[in-house]
Symmetry: C2
DNA sequence: AACTTTATTAAAAATTTATTTAACATTTTA
DNA sequence: TAAAATGTTAAATAAATTTTTAATAAAGTT
């Protein structure tokens, strides 16, 4: 290896350290390894085509195609327009605040919605049981207990929705500044 | 079916709606289906032994054993002491605020730590390349660009640590109350 | 101290998920 | 409009993960 090559190799190695760390943490976010590696790789690129992705990661094109779409779903990758090229180009969202926002807001909103819906339905059932004349006293007591437990849990889902709202609006950064001036 | 059975069946069905919803959202949190179903089932119980779990879910005991341990890891289940019983007993954390806290704080702290470590190492490498006399001007320019990109991303990880701290200390609830008085 | 009960670990089986190869559809260009 | 290039869908393969059966260890009881 010539001396003049060393620095560029060192750069690649340095990038790889960060790519590895990003991909590993994304893995825990329910993203497939291919998508995680792809995002981390794109984090150091301006924009990429599907063919560049496949060359860079050594994976198949359909794998890149589906990975890129999943990353688009969670808004971590955006399609970019490049005049003069018929290949589609994509760019990674490099602002982690925006990625955080998109990912968690989507997730928490979904969670709150799904669970609140189930809770409402269940609570209606419990009320019917409580009203039902054929219910024995301890069945009624049970139904009441569950009804109250669910009622209390709603507080959490409403809070989750509030959290989402404060992130979307940016109000949370008034409370927790991005650059703490200490 | 006798009329007096109907209410208790209705109760079970109502619980199952909520169990299904909880388990489905937990699935997205990287928890195995067995663990997700187990937690959701325990959510409506005071406490359970491994044998009760296996009977209730119709799964093997080792599956319950490992599931319960994973739930303990993310602090969604706690071991309880029951005098007079030699079987271990476990109880689900029913306060979702506490589950949220334990789960996300653990996750975010880990993410910030891992990525910040990788970033520090990479930045040292970039500095070496910049200092290296055998680096060509555009290699130096590249190293500087990456260095700055990583430097900026640190803001996010520090913010994540601040978020964790405000959740752990409960200060976040001053900003976002659990019961909004509207 | 031996026996019984309970829980955990290890190896095997089964299921699920991710990835690839191959076929198809779409778009662009000549 | 035909040919070439790009991207996506479908079926098949491969890999990883989850779950189970079987064996082991630990704890408690007689």
């Amino acid at each position: 290896m010539s001396d003049t090559e060393k620095p560029s190799i060192k750069i690649e190695e340095a990038k790889d350290k960060v790519i590895g760390a990003i991909a590993e943490t994304m893995d825990l976010y329910g993203v497939t390894p291919a998508a995680a590696n792809l995002y981390a790789t794109m984090y150091f690129k301006d924009q990429m085509t599907l063919d560049e992705m496949r060359t860079e990661l050594g994976m198949s094109k359909p794998s890149m195609s589906t990975s890129v779409r999943r990353l688009q779903d969670i808004e971590m990758v955006k399609k970019t327009f490049t005049r003069g090229s018929r290949k589609h180009t994509y760019a990674a969202e490099k602002n982690f605040f925006r990625s955080f926002m998109a990912f968690y807001c989507q997730m928490w909103e979904r969670e709150a919605k799904m669970n609140l819906e189930a809770i409402e339905e269940a609570q209606e059932d419990f009320i019917e049981v409580i009203k039902d004349s054929s219910s024995t006293p301890d069945i009624v007591a049970n139904a009441k207990k569950y009804y109250d437990q669910l009622e209390e849990s709603k507080t959490y889902y409403h809070w989750l929705n509030d959290l989402v709202e404060s992130i979307r609006s940016g109000k949370i950064f008034e409370f927790l500044p991005k650059d703490p001036q200490d």
